[in-house]
């Protein structure tokens, strides 16, 4: 299965960027990192921790009426790199169906050459975030089959 089109676009963009452009783009994603919607702030216990990250990262996958998933993240502003990486995944995957999200290969980002801009340990955090987004997608699928 091909990558969701928005994610493919991000991968292609990064693949052609210099190190500086990658950093600037990450900063852009970090700066536009959305704050948590009020309803989720009130029900924050619904959010799941991502223990692989260097930073306290929490996420929640919200099912849309059309079956797509929208992810929400809670990440402290002191960790802009993690915010930027999570925002890339959210931008690339939001709106996709759980099945599409589950089909994203764990190494989809290899052509992005992220290691030019960030350390391997952070890339592992990125992999961890994707894994937890998939877990959230699995839960949504299980709920669907129960209903």
């Amino acid at each position: 299965m091909p990558l969701p089109p928005k994610l493919q676009e991000i991968v292609d963009d990064f693949a052609s960027m210099s190190r500086e452009e990658k950093l600037e783009t990450l900063i852009g994603y970090a700066e536009s990192f959305p704050s948590l919607p009020d309803w989720l702030t009130e029900e924050r216990e619904k959010m799941e921790p991502v223990p692989e990250c260097m930073t306290p990262v929490f996420l929640f996958g919200e099912k849309q009426p059309d079956g797509g998933v929208v992810y929400h993240f809670d990440i402290p502003p002191q960790s802009p790199t993690v915010r930027g990486l999570a925002a890339i995944l959210a931008n690339g995957l939001n709106g996709s169906k759980p099945e599409e999200i589950l089909s994203v290969p764990a190494d989809f980002f290899t052509p992005m050459k992220l290691e030019e801009a960030i350390t391997h340990q952070r890339i592992n955090g990125f992999i961890g975030v994707l894994a937890h987004m998939k877990q959230a997608a699995v839960k949504l699928l299980e709920n669907k089959s129960k209903n």
Binding site: L23, L26, I27, A30, E31, P51, E52, C53, M54, P56, P77, Q78, S79, P80, T81, V82, G84, I118, T119, Q121, N124, G125, G128
Partner: protein
């Protein structure tokens, strides 16, 4: 009682007053390399522990010539007072300071409390990246008296001399091979170097504002665990960043004459064939 070398520490007020001082260069060194771009102390430049200070190919620091180029580009002369600050209670600020000392830069200071304290005090953060006129910096030969290599660490361990493991208790015990909540990768084996005492780096700083604890508290902490000034001490962690903070505390705040940072740390030791390990 005061710190033994208080001149190595400045407070946020001092930095605010010297942000335009041409004899002072303020350097931000963070764990998260994008923090500087999100806003930094006016006039401050950035070094990244990895992309600025590491050798681009080997696992080592820059060469002397490469370091000279970095310092020159930052507009630093051999006489500039360089003040470091950063996130995570100044882990990577002390790491950068240690490395500047390794290349012979004498006039260095840490901003007590780092970024956290500056932000708590609601002091200004700006996005403008300053540029300073390029200098011709001349580095000294690397000062190996503050850097430990694996052979020395092995000797230190087998002769039962002081080693300080500054990682978290679970890393020391071998239950984890990286910090809690960090990816568990980077070493084949868990545990600690035989004979090392566990004094987590965080015990040296106040949680509330990231400043260093008082001289009395620090002395009690290290001497209470048998780490005394009369012997050579080697500190280590996972990659040498947290142990830079402990190195700074022992060397300058407590005035221990002979302290080394083992930057190979657990990512070397825990992978080294035949290296003794205690659990």
């Amino acid at each position: 009682m005061s710190y033994v070398h208080p001149e190595y520490l400045v407070d946020t007020e001092w930095v605010a007053a010297h942000s335009e001082d041409p004899n002072v260069r303020i350097i931000e060194s963070d764990e998260d390399p994008l923090l500087y771009s999100m806003g930094h102390i006016p006039g401050a430049v950035q070094v990244d522990w990895f992309s600025t200070l590491q050798h681009p190919v080997r696992r080592d620091f820059l060469t002397k010539e490469q370091f000279e180029e970095v310092a020159s580009k930052l507009g630093i002369t051999n006489d500039t007072t360089v003040v470091f600050y950063g996130d995570k209670s100044n882990w990577f600020a002390t790491y950068a300071l240690w490395l500047f000392q390794y290349f012979g830069h004498q006039n260095v200071k840490i901003m007590n409390g780092g970024r956290a304290k500056w932000e708590q005090e609601k002091r200004p953060l700006v996005k403008d990246v300053p540029s300073y006129e390029k200098t011709t910096y001349r580095s000294k030969e690397p000062d190996k008296s503050i850097r430990a290599f694996r052979e020395e660490v092995l000797k230190q361990s087998s002769s039962k001399k002081p080693l300080v493991d500054v990682r978290s208790p679970k890393e020391y015990s071998g239950e984890l091979i990286s910090m809690p909540n960090y990816p568990q990768e980077g070493a084949q084996r868990g545990g600690h170097i035989p004979g090392a005492v566990s004094i987590p780096w965080s015990q040296a700083v106040n949680e509330a504002d990231s400043t260093f604890k008082t001289p009395e508290e620090l002395r009690a902490l290290y001497e209470g665990k048998g780490i005394k000034p009369d012997e050579e001490v080697i500190a280590y962690c996972r990659i040498g960043e947290r142990s830079s903070l402990t190195w700074f505390v022992l060397k300058y705040l407590l005035g221990y004459p002979n302290v080394k940072n083992y930057d190979g740390s657990w990512t070397e030791w825990g992978n080294l064939v035949d290296a003794p390990i205690e659990k």
